[in-house]
Symmetry: C2
Subunit: 428 residues, 2 copies
């Protein structure tokens, strides 16, 4: 299958190229980007005219709980603790494998619709989450999450190893990491066992970290440390680590983190909505930490529209630092693309549009949108005036999954909406 995208305004995120290249053609063959140049004269099975449109890498969401789509907007007016214990956990106990499958499909449809092509998930019943990803065609990094606070720790280690044996390196679209729920929900010994599995299988560790003040207190107490960074320095010296949230860190702790093989998944909307606070992202970038963006699950983060995370990320730092010069637009675009790819260990495959890389890309149309005109600065337009809704076409692994806002899926979204409404009715 050959796809030829014509006359694009290309924002490739390739550091070797101009930030904006005009009137460029892109030839996709099978799942790869074969050629990027002006006026490509080659036959193709499919030609997409992108005159006056923007082509950019698909967005990469580095922290999510995919099946939580069904819990969207259940948190309003509650404390996090009440929401979890009185609403979410009792409902989660009732979820069947089929529920997880359909709730995941809803999230993948949302991703495709809003231009997100890769997601890093942390939840349970992963087989269903993987199956749904393969059935819709989105790129998924997935983990079986370790947590021993419920007394089922040993069983989970066994299940994790089985999961790795079954899924690692088996599918183009699926990569694995080892999910450790958090330091505060696991004993030191158990964390070490999780790391052992990660090292043995050459996988990264994916973990919640310092989401709120209470968690900081809990870590300090249970690990008997002065700083939350100490356990990371002790155990994670040689393991690549994706840390979600990392809201409550001091400048000194950020400096110490920068010495480890760590990337941060910043989830600004969820961090505000749950009343956690605002992570010091500008400081982290200053220390050359790889910061990417995540939506968190829709229960806390509302939706999977990465353009909203982009906007919040840029504006929050300017606001709290009282400095409009921080977070220039192009740097924020990097966080949502190539930084996300690097965080997931996929920097050589996705995150930029370059010849030889995998074709995960989106086409954005702002032409008829009064809220984006005139175009004075196209990068700032993408940060501040673009929504997932403006993504017209989504291509993942060389396959067109949405064109001109029409899904090209074997699944009917309306049926999925109905199924998910039925699930939430049944379990609430």
């Amino acid at each position: 299958m050959k796809i030829l995208i014509k006359n694009a305004n290309l924002i490739s995120m390739d550091p070797k190229k101009e930030k904006l290249q005009k009137d460029i053609d892109i030839l996709i063959e099978n799942n790869k980007i074969k050629k990027i140049e002006k006026n490509i004269q080659e036959e193709a099975d499919k030609i997409i005219d992108s005159k006056n449109k923007i082509v950019m890498p698909g967005l990469i969401n580095t922290h999510c709980h995919i099946p939580m789509s069904i819990f969207r907007e259940t948190v309003d007016g509650l404390t996090t603790q009440n929401w979890l214990t009185k609403k979410i956990w009792p409902m989660e106990d009732k979820l069947t494998k089929e529920d997880i499958y359909y709730a995941s499909i809803l999230s993948y449809i949302e991703m495709i619709y809003t231009g997100c092509t890769t997601v890093n998930d942390m939840y349970f019943m992963q087989e269903e989450i993987v199956k749904a990803a393969l059935d819709t065609g989105v790129r998924l990094e997935v983990s079986r999450t370790l947590m021993d606070s419920d007394g089922k720790g040993e069983q989970k280690l066994k299940e994790l190893e089985d999961f790795i044996n079954q899924y690692n390196n088996k599918y183009d679209l699926i990569t694995l990491n080892v999910g450790i729920h958090g330091l505060y929900t696991n004993s030191e010994e158990y964390v070490e066992k999780g790391i052992e599995i990660a090292v043995k299988n050459n996988l990264k560790v994916n973990m919640h970290f310092c989401e709120n003040s209470q968690e900081v207190e809990d870590i300090k107490k249970s690990y008997n440390v002065q700083s939350v960074v100490e356990p990371l320095e002790k155990y994670f010296k040689n393991v690549p680590l994706i840390l979600a949230h990392s809201v409550k860190l001091t400048d000194e702790e950020i400096k110490r983190l920068s010495k480890l093989n760590v990337s941060i998944s910043h989830c600004p909307v969820s961090n505000l909505k749950l009343g956690c606070g605002i992570a010091k992202i500008s400081k982290m970038l200053e220390k050359n930490i790889c910061v990417s963006l995540g939506t968190d699950g829709q229960g806390s983060g509302s939706n999977l529209d990465m353009f909203e995370e982009i906007k919040f990320c840029a504006l929050l730092q300017k606001g709290i630092l009282e400095n409009p010069k921080v977070m220039p637009a192009y740097e924020v675009l990097k966080m949502a693309t190539i930084n996300g790819a690097k965080a997931l260990g996929l920097g050589d495959k996705i995150g930029t549009i370059e010849e030889g890389k995998i074709a995960d890309l989106i086409i954005i149309n702002l032409e008829e949108k009064p809220y984006a005109r005139p175009y004075n600065n196209i990068f700032a337009e993408l940060i501040y005036n673009t929504k997932g809704e403006n993504v017209e076409t989504t291509i993942i692994n060389g396959k067109i999954l949405m064109e001109n806002k029409k899904f090209l899926l074997s699944i009917n979204p309306k049926e999925i909406y109905k199924k998910c409404e039925d699930i939430i009715k049944r379990i609430s």
Copy 2:
């Protein structure tokens, strides 16, 4: 002209009614809402089926600089001072009356497109801003802005009085207030003269206030006061006052402000983008101050999508107070509707959907939007998952200005985009 809206999910914002009324019909006759009940059997010139859609009052933007649409995204990476002195002011000097007209039309198109039906403007060449509002059909509160720091203060007083004589109480869609640019840009004597004109004509005063730390210092110095509230207590005791921004206030100052006839126009996006900070909105609401929402001009605030201000407003307070219980969804909807109407002195005419009120309303369609399903909490859906893009139909003063995302205007938006691109090219 009679319009009958059928089967709506009505969020009327009427405090006497259920927050959500299902399957309701709304009859509009001329510019008024004539009847709201189930199953209205009456002939109408136009029937709009709103099954599964949300009908709510049009959003009210209480702080804007309408013609600044053309300066969208010119600020990225600059300090406010550099942006103003090196970019904006030299460009503004070159603006013709025709430029102001077309730039205003662009903003009004953006308002209609994103479901905002009323705007409070503060700029110059107001005749053109009014003409553009009348030509598109949006509701406008407008002022001729007083500022004597450029030595043309006396002339401006005269022009203001002429403007009031010419436009006050002349048009359904147009109301006036007296714009005083700010305390820091005007002498005490000049402020007093502005207030005199407001009192004489029974108008409100519309003023920037405490947008950033520098302004606070400037006010304290030039008015020789300990607190920025002192000049307000001295001069504005008996004048209704709309204060834009009000970012840098202490709890004590908020308490003192609550004793005056003051409403606050909160512009969260602009305040972040210019590095001003985050206003203490939750505290102001606690003190029963009427807080409404504004976008500011697109130069600083990016766009006129009030749904973005709504989302930022709700999330910022939760985040900085580290309390997810503050800013419940319905309270934030009030800020964008009835509070805006009250701020502009139009609380008896617009801001809710009630029999006898003016028909300024919008119809929202989330039905096919994966990022909004399932519907667990419709008010939270409006706050967190709705964008201006989801507004399907906009009615102002009983007139349909957009239906199913198609403008019903004598103006061609594409021509306006072209004209505005030409303006910015010419003056940059």
